[in-house]
Symmetry: C2
Subunit: 479 residues, 2 copies
């Protein structure tokens, strides 16, 4: 394994090792004692908070209200929806003992909250005037994963889960697409991840859903990351939990419900969408520090640190998140490497000579423009634009990468080639057995049927049966 001086395997040498080492080394996360659990360290948590505050604002602006439901759910609740319990049973953590006694009914630690929220919706909804009921919850959930990975598939993770009830299918489907649209925007506009929005094939649906929609992102190893999902649940949960309303005519009707969630998995997605051999590359909108100033002090000269603090104050006043790295025991070179590895978008080096010239040296994280002198007096004014440009550059680069690694394929050889480095756009018969066969041979699964795909008919890329869905499907290996 090739590790550089930072002690992290190069991305180009071993993507998986690079990821596992980097997220820990960059102090985003650490491993917890119980299997698959993680500690989100301040640098990673701040990143999550920045995603969260943006997402929370969009959820509120579209009329949803936050609430909080219990962590512990009676085991019998899950059994009420047959597909739901089948899907989640293998992953449950169960409390059997509490307050010094064995419990009469076992409690599951929520893996998701459709059941308990369904139970309460049934209680709260009376007439059609109570609809739509638009709830959202920020919470931790626990799913016992066989092969846990930090952020991507952790035993416990943080997320928001919206749960809504509607008068009919049309309104519920409108809501499902609204949730998906919010995810598409947050991914693109905040995380600089050019996700593709689409519908899941039946085999990849959420347990208990009538239809599942997803935004899929491409990681720099060509694999897909499901980055947010939105489910139209039909009347499945309404029937199981008796979520009914009295219509204008006085008749009782079942509600149509939806749920949609986005999680701390996004942090892993950002790492794998933008990172490189040198470490993280953080989009400015989610970077805990958008700018780090490294004062270059010689001997006992303290004027430089004071000037760095003064510059930081002016940058902060301009709305920039800035950090001055004034640690005395470390060399500037060490700091440059560390902040590069931790993905800070802009580094400013400030030494006595720069100060005398009224400039700082600016280095962008990708380093492609080298070291540029920039005037200190106008820097706070210029910085928001510089950061926006960097954000846009990352989105453009990721979009180009995704497009360059997405191939429309018409035969099996092209298919296997495409999924070895990225995504294949292929016609598929829709048969579960054929999906399984493709997965067994190539490890690729259907990620989604893109919403904006062009209408097309033909034969299945694998089995030659007539294609389903009326358009091409994205197949890829996935996280």
């Amino acid at each position: 394994m090739v590790k550089d001086e930072r002690g992290v395997t190069a991305q180009s040498a071993d993507f998986s090792a690079w990821y596992n080492e980097l997220v820990v080394k960059a102090a985003l996360v650490d491993r917890g004692p119980a299997k698959g659990t993680m500690i989100i360290r301040p640098y990673g948590y701040r990143l999550w908070e920045l995603i969260q505050s943006d997402l929370d604002r969009r959820i509120k602006e579209t009329g949803h209200e936050n609430a909080y439901f219990p962590l512990l759910i009676p085991e019998s609740y899950l059994s009420r929806e047959a597909e739901h319990v089948e899907g989640f049973s293998p992953e449950l953590a169960v409390v059997t003992h509490a307050g010094g006694k064995d419990l009469e009914e076992r409690l599951v630690v929520r893996p998701t909250s459709e059941t308990i929220i369904g139970e309460m919706m049934a209680k709260w909804i009376g007439s059609h005037r109570d609809l739509p009921l638009l709830l959202n919850q920020w919470a931790n959930v626990v799913r016992w994963e066989l092969r846990p990975r930090l952020f991507l598939r952790s035993t416990e993770f943080l997320w928001q889960e919206a749960h809504t009830a509607h008068i009919d299918e049309a309104d519920a489907r409108r809501e499902t697409m609204l949730g998906l649209d919010i995810y598409e925007r947050v991914a693109r506009e905040v995380a600089a991840m050019p996700v593709v929005a689409g519908e899941k094939t039946p085999g990849e649906r959420f347990a208990g859903a009538v239809a599942t929609f997803t935004v899929e992102a491409m990681m720099r190893d060509g694999r897909a990351l499901q980055s947010g999902t939105s489910h139209y649940l039909g009347t499945n949960f309404a029937r199981a939990f008796d979520i009914r309303y009295t219509g204008d005519s006085g008749r009782e009707e079942l509600c149509h419900t939806t749920s949609w969630g986005m999680s701390t998995r996004m942090v892993g997605g950002i790492v794998m969408t933008h990172g490189d051999d040198k470490g993280l590359v953080l989009p400015p909108k989610v970077a805990p520090h958008q700018v780090v100033i490294v004062p270059i002090t010689r001997g006992t000269d303290t004027g430089v640190v004071a000037a760095a603090d003064e510059l930081a104050g002016r940058l902060r006043a301009a709305g920039v998140r800035v950090h001055v790295d004034a640690r005395e025991q470390l060399t500037p070179g060490f700091k440059y490497n560390e902040w590069e590895m931790r993905g800070v978008p802009i580094r400013l080096e400030l030494g006595p000579r720069d100060l005398a010239a009224g400039t700082a040296v600016m280095v962008k994280r990708l380093g492609d423009e080298g070291k540029q002198p920039v005037p200190l007096d106008t820097l706070p004014e210029a910085m928001p634009g510089i950061l926006d440009e960097f954000q846009q550059f990352l989105l453009d680069r990721a979009t180009e990468f995704r497009d360059a690694h997405t191939v429309s394929v018409d035969n099996w050889t092209e298919f296997t080639d495409a999924v070895s480095t990225g995504w294949a756009l292929a016609l598929h018969c829709g048969a579960p057995a054929c999906e399984d066969d493709i997965k067994a041979v190539t490890a690729a699964t259907p990620r989604c049927i893109p919403l904006d795909g062009a209408a097309e008919q033909g034969n299945c890329v694998r089995c030659d049966a007539p294609s389903a869905y009326g358009k091409r499907v994205i197949f890829s290996r996935a996280y």
Copy 2:
């Protein structure tokens, strides 16, 4: 039980029934299926978010960083600190089964996070340069309560828990008082709760602490509510989890740690500090709706609703949280009662005649000033001041109530009188057996030794032995 048309027992008739009914009726909260769990409904959650955002800002401004630690903690961790495990064992919920198998080591659902955070601090702290380590976590915790009460003592609750590590006792004690000071300010400035800051007697300390400090609030039935606590943990957890740093001299030293927490219990505190026979009275700073506008429409006249929306828009632009109650099927009178019961500080009634006169009718929640006509054009400008005044009025009223129900007592008769309606300030011997005796006879416990109490010596109000602590202690029945 005397219930009025709102279906809530009057506070003056039965305080406990009033509380239990009101928090549900006002849609702050509902009961969850598992024993003692609660659902925090949007109205209650928004109130919590308003406390939370203020508290989070203060925590960040004082240099603390948010992080997130696992919910599930190996049971053995708790045993490492003897007093800690003894204190929390009876309240633990335990996961024994996960992923379809019995676990090799049982996992407790965190009742608090000193142990798991201690384990990670030991890993992260190397030298004195890593100190102080100032962490905070927003999380849910579970404590199996024998006698659960909504918000006050729920099986699961939400809180922040700060956990910090320091170079020596002086720095850790400074931090302990900083946490307490933040709580005192949030309670007073946001919740309008005039809390008393003090130290707990040894018998009331947090399990594993060297010293516990608290802010205690007085509810309108005279009982005390512990509203936030801050603990100096000495080197107890540092020793148990091996949290050490290398000092300048190269020698390894134990860290001194602290922890401090404030929870959703505050929502219950606000209800019981300000509420009255008619229902909730919410301080404007935590009110989800600071102003509710009730349009009074006659027949098909829709101009009034449009005018209400327009006014709401201008109030919003002035930074006011405002809600227009345009529900068609309900009478104005019903709405007045409902928003009174739900504690909205300011109600504006807007009818065609008001509109013609360019005014609205303003009614403050306490109703003591009657109905006042107010000019529509200057209302947005005036409203922030009106809300500030209402906030200050509630704080003053609560302070007067507290002072009127706090009695400095010098004999046992005075003591029992005082704790039947409020707080007794008494000298006490400090003996645990004497504390137990007082509790058995009066149900009162020592709430705290106020920090600002005057120095005083004398004999114990109960047993006549020489007093401890050098000042008077607050005794009260408590939640």
